[in-house]
Symmetry: C2
Subunit: 305 residues, 2 copies
Amino acid sequence: MPNISPRQLEAFVAVATTGSVGRAAQAIHLSQPAVSMALAELERMLGQALFDRVGRRLLLNEAGSALLPRAHEVLERLRELPASLAPSAAPGGQLHIGASNTVGNYLVGELLGGFVSAHPQVAVHLTIANTEQIVAQVNRFALDVGCVEGAVTHPDIEVLPWRQDRLVVCARPDHPLARRRRLAARDFREVRWILREHGSATRALTERALAALPPAAGLLELGQSEAIKQAVIAGLGIACLPEVAIADALAAGKLRVLSTAFLDLRRNLSLVVHRKRYRGPLLQGFLDSTRSAAPAPRGGRRSTA
Amino acid sequence: MPNISPRQLEAFVAVATTGSVGRAAQAIHLSQPAVSMALAELERMLGQALFDRVGRRLLLNEAGSALLPRAHEVLERLRELPASLAPSAAPGGQLHIGASNTVGNYLVGELLGGFVSAHPQVAVHLTIANTEQIVAQVNRFALDVGCVEGAVTHPDIEVLPWRQDRLVVCARPDHPLARRRRLAARDFREVRWILREHGSATRALTERALAALPPAAGLLELGQSEAIKQAVIAGLGIACLPEVAIADALAAGKLRVLSTAFLDLRRNLSLVVHRKRYRGPLLQGFLDSTRSAAPAPRGGRRSTA
DNA sequence: ATCCCCGTATCATTTTTATTGATGCCAAAC
DNA sequence: GTTTGGCATCAATAAAAATGATACGGGGAT
């Protein structure tokens, strides 16, 4: 009775997460044939294929999906063994976190601050991409946890509410609309909007808001919130951006928020985790840190308990 | 960074459970030097000893005790991987159950019946020994679960109440005491008692009862309940035995129970499991099966649910 | 105190296993 | 139809582990 080796599991997990034998090989520092053979041997022992070979692509099939969480867990527990003996040693491992654009750029401190200071020996990898990509990577175990804006509805993904976020419409202080106290929808005729790219959750929410306004005079599409902010400051138009993204520019007097009380621009930021993902001490610790740190308004003050 | 191999864990677990490198070697079908080297390599990688070498004996030290449950769990999860893919296949593994003398001999059906019929492919190993030995083996992971009579108070052992048991005082139907309706303590002067050996939980409880009675006229000590039963039938004396052990003899009219209502001879039978033992589907299934089957009053009748 | 026995640790050799680089093969893109 | 990119296969090599023999060392017996 041949036993499953950790190398085979490692190869399988790597192939599943990267989606290709070649990338998996370089991810775990092995040659391509080694990974191919390890995977083949694993499938032979299990008596069934873990991937559907469609063309030159490997797609995780049902059996593979069932195995992936368990294999991942076994490997992680195996890696945790040495650390579990040092009594009070910090875990010291790797944590792969994904974040959407807004969160990753402007809420990094709030998201990671408490955790990294409490666990200095942990190597944290932050990947920034749009919601869809983050969720996909969490789903195939390439990321341990994601923090995104959009509402996620995937059966294998668990969504943990983190905090709320608000978009605001902003303009240069000398913009005509910026001088007025109260605004109505019809005031937004003939303005030029600057938007994020398609696929962005900020863009999606902005478009929902724009539907309630008169047609825009012109559109400008930029890939980054920061770029949009600079464009608004330069007077190229007005934009709808996360308030956390323009806090500094508001304080500096370079931007002004328009009073668009008639628009509901709030949204929920959530943490997403694979439901069957093994929550080791590191991952669990991170999730706990976000739950305890989230209610605090600012990072400067520390709670006593 | 050298990784821990399953072989090393297997060797470590085997040494920990058997208490000797040699026995561990033959248990996992390896040569003695192989186990010795695997263990040495594991300790080298962990940077600390798992056993205290006192003389020619290996005693699990603190670090080893911390590692054992985790190592055991990793190995079991690894073994479970193949089975987790077959959708509705029966688990099919090994389950090592320990039982004290009374339970193992007379309550086997009640203890194992429901489980083995529900899981035909599971190989069940039943070890019979006294309470102390069973607990010791559960504690060093040599047994998955034990079923004993005595009260266990070990910090690493979890005790799950199973069912109650009762001892009864019995004699031949033609014994002078067997003919009388009501008995008192003083009626037990000048009788010959037949007891179990020292170390037996039945013996301990019997002695507690005897302390409330007049001194015995004579003692006879036998190692097995069945032997005692036959001795009582042969008229060699009276005995205090589990009622489940003499049920058939009572029905056959070969024995009679004395009405000793003034003695409290009830005791609790419990399942004992190591607190940190990984409860895989097999072990968990067995524990569940005992909890659901226990409330049934007798073995002859089957409950519908 | 000394000898003997039992069990573990160590050593060199052999056997097995895994890894590598090269090559064949197939499907998709041009 | 040709080319490209990627996975599977093959023989050779390198690494690791298992084995049998042996050295070491602590208890128990005399």
